[in-house]
Symmetry: C2
Subunit: 324 residues, 2 copies
């Protein structure tokens, strides 16, 4: 790849990195704008409806004066429904006993951060900063080591399959070539595909468990799995928070293990997709440079690479302006 | 490092990776247990107190029957106080207009996931899975490219300082040696320190802004900064959610930029701390192997490395048992 721009002077080589990150920034911004438009059109009506429903219920309730504790509780339940990322009117399980605190600490170091539990005290808040700094770093190291191992394992697996297939087809000349492990690299697409299937299997398995144990629909459980595994962690659905879950140790352990496995696999998947995106960016930059090189040759005889970068950014600027 | 275990047969080399990841797992588990105990002891009394307060208020309210809309709203405010990661009784700004949706999409791709906004509709939930898969991967790529650039820049900066200092002290022989850029690598501690200072500066600056604009105390603002920058995102404090913030464009833009800068710097900081932790793990493994090598030599003449791993794990098991 580096040879592609070797015609330019060496001082332009870092510029290529800049072009790549700029292009990525612009694409992410566009992707976010498109996403915002899409989600806004999808969710805005539901929000307005929920708002109206809540306001009507509140008004109705304010008119009736003969209330008791049960009525109040049902009001709070409706209030919860009105809010998406609901606070339960009654806390399910104790939040800050040792199990709850362990769950909390898990959501911190994994950076999932459901937010069902968050420190109230000032000391707790200050401690969290110090605690998280070391904890999150250690977890990032763990994820990276896991990623390394998974890539090594999958490479070995794919290599074995690859060699077996070649041996099967009886091409002796190629077999000796395939034996040189160092020369052979598995395709990033194969690794990504295997990881995708792995994430899908873990998510589907976990979703089946959650839909039984939490009383969610299957799509809600799948949504929860994705939100948790990607470490986004909205906290609108959180597993293992009901009071009766305190007793079911097997479920709590299974929950933690599934979460750990899911997060690790998803982290690996994200990283392999990132490699594919990087390849895509390089391809786009090459294409743009090639297109604008011809362009620049016609316009003037100045350095085509810096020209192409400038023109790309102008084009992206126009695109963004058009979108807004 | 690899030569250290070269006395063992080559098939044991992958075992070292296993030993490292196992040790890290054990240490993270211990760290989480210690954290759980600490946070539990800190937060449990506050939780109980909040619980009692809320129950008392609910009881008091159920006794008085003459309620109006204002009373109800004040009840809901107390209800919020009782809950840590509170739903606001009145939504600040519209959640799913285009600005709100953009904020939401930002929390998804950055994996912060405050959870103030989360899709309600089934279509929205399903879409989020697909959307997040690509978005999170692209952001991970962006973070990694940013990390690369930061490391390169800081290395150059430290190298320049290093060379200038040597030139200043007039050691000509070393200067020519220092000129060989390829041979020289900056210490990970220096890079980590600079990044730590950078994160601290961004966090302190942002906290000053937030404490003015959001009405939080300075420690709350700092806590919010850490929670957001580390992409944990509990959602107990979320910036830019008040209704009057809709008009202050400058604040919204500053908020987004500070968040972006903070997340990027913190990601880089976590990664450099992870390198330090990795070095620490290797040091621990070497020390343990060295200690148990002597041990094993006395006990029997079997392979000392696998023995040392076994003994380490036994020791850790005993430690865990003692902690519980
Ligand atoms: K979160
Ligand atoms: K998060």
């Amino acid at each position: 790849m580096k040879t592609y721009f070797s015609c330019c002077c060496p001082s332009l080589i870092p510029s290529r990195e800049t072009a790549r990150i700029s292009l990525l920034c612009a694409l992410i911004a566009l992707y976010m704008l498109a996403g915002a438009a899409l989600f806004s059109s999808l969710e805005r009506p539901a929000e307005l409806k929920a708002h109206q429903l809540w306001e009507r219920r509140l008004r109705d309730f304010s008119y009736e004066h003969n209330i008791n504790l049960e009525d109040l509780k049902s009001l709070l339940c409706h209030y919860e429904e009105a809010r998406t990322a609901g606070i339960r009117a009654e806390q399910g399980r104790a939040l800050w006993d040792i199990h709850g605190a362990f769950y909390f600490v898990g959501t911190v170091v994994s950076t999932i951060g459901f937010g069902v539990t968050a420190p109230i005290t000032v000391t707790g808040k200050a401690l969290l900063i110090l605690y998280g700094l070391l904890g999150c770093s250690a977890t990032i190291l763990f994820f990276n080591l896991f990623l390394e191992r998974v890539i090594t394992m999958l490479s070995l697996l794919i290599f074995t399959c690859h060699r077996r297939r070649i041996e099967h087809s009886g091409l002796q000349g190629r077999t000796s070539e395939g034996d040189r492990n160092e020369d052979w690299k598995p395709s990033v697409y194969q690794v990504t595909f295997i990881l995708f299937v792995a994430v899908l299997l873990v998510a589907c398995g976990a979703a089946s468990l959650y839909s039984v144990m939490e009383g969610w629909t299957y799509i809600q459980s799948l949504y929860f799995c994705f939100v948790a595994f990607s470490t986004v962690g909205f906290g609108d659905f959180v597993s293992g928070q009901r009071e009766h879950h305190e007793d079911t140790w097997a479920y709590q352990v299974a929950n933690c293990l599934l979460m750990l496995l899911g997060v690790c696999c998803t982290y690996s998947l994200f990283n392999t997709i990132a490699v594919i995106i990087k390849q895509g960016l390089d391809w786009m930059l090459r294409t743009l440079a090639w297109v604008f090189a011809g362009f620049a040759k016609i316009c003037c005889n100045s350095d085509h690479y810096s020209n192409s970068v400038f023109l790309t950014l102008s084009l992206l600027y126009v695109l963004v302006k058009m979108t807004l």
